[in-house]
Amino acid sequence: MSYESDDFPYYRQAITFFYNGAMKGVLWMHIVKIEEVTKNFGELTAVDRMSLQIEEGEIFGLLGPNGAGKSTVINMITGLFRMDKGDIFVLDKSVNKDPMFTKRNIGIVPQDIAIYEDLTSLENVKFFAGLYGLRGKKLSAAAEEALEFTGLSDQAKAFPKTFSGGMKRRLNIACAIAHKPKIIIMDEPTVGIDPQSRNHILQSVKKLNQSGSTIIYTSHYMEEVEEICTRIAIMDHGKVIAQGTKEELKALITDTNVVWVTIEDSVSRIEESKIKEIPGVIHLDITDSTIKITSAREVKNLGKIIQYFIGSGISIKSVESKIPDLETVFLSLTGRRLRD
């Protein structure tokens, strides 16, 4: 994908650089900056004084359960909802003051499949891309490229009513990327599809990011977010309750890893001092035939622990390692599961 920077005359630092071998661009303070934003729906506060910064080139994950306020934030970034308080800056321009500027630079993949069943795939993509000012041959080429990217080029003349859920999701993405937006917002793009299509979409997200787009990815599937996002904000009840890289988030709840080793021999053969000598091991707890070994999280010592048992001639029945995932982080921070 290539980009044109002529549409973005506003910049803080005139540092010109080549992006993706083709793009002449500028460096933004933050590609998206959310400042103390509040959105109420009657009595319900959907987003509560939320602040967040997203940097250029990130795959930024917005993680949270249904009703956390993710989609409301997205709708405010795209100018679909007015915010009651605060402001959002996209490419350093206020969404409140100049929503059209924001809209021109964003591609949205909505949570619901928003395509026309009575238009062909190509007509769908051309229609939505055309709204961003593409015309004629440029429009046709961009639409075909988007269909190619999403693996639908052989379905260009087919009507989506004959498509599987996964194909419709891919077309949903094609309609958002054909105009080559600087920021792509994907709101739960993998809901209700088969693993193969999900995998295809996740790979597409990575490719789009590699080709220069900043991605804002919302999901309540923590494994997806964990797999593709470079930075994550966890939302609950309209607030960001934690943000950072995966490691930073996990470090919020624990700085240790735990390994349970169950042996077939008698635990009397275990030499505790030898295990404690293994780098990173902090604590040892022996119960019946199971040894619980707690290590510092930053030290990768599982190989050495197993090596000790084999070297000592102790037969291992099973090894279980528990590293906290984002689900655990969320559970720990909010007291409930993501999919509750």
């Binding site: 709708n75 795209t78 100018g79 679909l80 909802f81 059209m100 809209k103 021109r104 964003i106 949205i108 909505p110 619901d112 499949i113 928003a114 395509i115 026309y116 069943e117 009575d118 238009l119 007509e123 229609f127 939505f128 055309g130 709204l131 961003y132 000012g133 309609c175």
Partner: protein, 374 residues
């Protein structure tokens, strides 16, 4: 530009909806044919007067003869009834018996002694002639009385050639629609009321399919979206209307008069009204079923009061009075007056009523869209 893209998309989508097109094009054509045939007897102009032939003999009174000839010229002009003079009374009587003439009139010196002979085969024709003859006699008597009492006025009265022997508007077939002509107009304006469903589903499908929100996430203003949708719907509706008009005019030979342009301009205002009404209802009423029920409840009433099913004059005085609230009554009347009387006095009123209703619903749509999004 985005407005045109949305309009073009709307046009393409609706033209692909064969069910909607079938309803909007075939339905009125079928109804025109069926109702045109079923109610052919209920429309006055089905009586053909052009074949009526009357023979007469002039009596000894020159004044009576001149007056009678003035009368026959007037009747001949208005109703295409042919009057022929004969000096042979026996021949006149024979022609009546043979059925070659509908009536034979004998003028004597005194108008009270005018005799009319009728052939039972042409009972209606002869009765019509008789009734007009009575009017003539009454008029002649009045003139004769004036001549006796005030001869100075006689010349003035006699020079008045526009003697109303017949109620032209009631009987002149050239100025009354036949059933087919009537239903060609009324079925078109009726079916255009159902174009509100096009406007309604145009908005509802964007709401339900979330495509409306997706469009508005792009660099598209809400008014561009709304206008694009409404104009797209109107364009489709006008194509459908044009097909119905052309078919009824060229194949069914319905009378659309000589000024289709003005009629089509009125049709445009109706299309704008109905599409806007559909869009407004889609924004106002969240439940799709309830919204459709409202439209399907309002439309038949508007159509009934507009004379869409039968002419309102046949529905009683009360209905005629209430009918002023129906925009379709103004529209249909305006169209009929253009076709049959070249009378444009109602064009502006009908157009303004349609545009006012459209403006109300567009405003409602704009306010709702501003508040809620699409």
């Amino acid at each position: 530009m985005n407005m045109i893209r949305i309009m073009a998309k709307e046009f393409k989508q609706t033209m692909r909806d064969w069910k909607a097109n079938t309803m909007m094009i075939l339905f009125p054509i079928v109804l025109i044919i069926i109702l045109g045939a079923a109610f052919s007897g209920a429309f006055g102009n089905e009586i053909d007067l052009s074949g009526i032939k009357v023979q007469y003999t002039a009596g000894s009174s020159q004044a009576l003869k001149e007056s009678f000839q003035a009368f026959t010229e007037e009747i001949g002009r208005e109703l295409s009834i042919t009057f022929e003079e004969t000096a042979d009374e026996a021949e006149g009587m024979k022609n009546i018996q043979d059925g070659e003439y509908s009536a034979f009139i004998q003028l004597e010196g005194d108008p009270d002694e005018i005799k009319i002979y009728k052939n039972a085969r042409y009972d209606f024709d002869a009765n019509l002639v008789e009734s007009m003859l009575r009017t003539f006699v009454e008029r002649y008597d009045a003139i004769a009385a004036i001549a006796r009492s005030n001869p100075a006025m006689l010349q003035e009265i006699m020079s008045d050639t526009a003697m109303d022997f017949v109620e032209i508007e009631a009987l002149d077939k050239k100025k009354q629609p036949g059933s087919l002509d009537y239903y060609a107009v009324s079925m078109l304006t009726l079916i255009l009321m159902y174009a509100s469903i096009t406007g309604f589903s145009g908005i509802k499908s964007e709401q339900n399919g979330k495509t409306g929100s997706r469009i508005l996430c792009g660099p598209v203003r809400k008014f561009e979206f709304l206008v694009g949708k409404v104009v797209g719907g109107i364009t489709v509706t006008l194509v459908q209307a044009a097909i119905v008009i052309l078919f009824s005019k060229s194949v069914l030979k319905a009378n659309w008069g000589n000024d289709l342009l003005t009629i089509f301009m009125l049709i445009i205002t109706e299309a704008l009204m109905t599409i806007s009404m559909g869009a407004g209802v889609a924004f106002l009423i969240k439940s799709e079923g309830a919204a459709q029920a409202v439209l399907n409840g309002i439309i038949p009433v508007v159509v009934l009061l507009g004379g869409g099913y039968v002419p309102i004059t046949q529905m009683g005085e009360a209905i005629v009075r209430i009918s002023v609230i129906s925009p379709l009554r103004w529209l249909n009347t305006a169209i009929f007056r253009i076709i049959y009387d070249a009378d444009y006095s109602l064009v502006l009123s009908a157009a303004l009523i349609n545009l006012a209703v459209a403006a109300v619903f567009i405003a409602v749509s704009a306010i709702c869209a501003k508040k809620e999004g699409v």
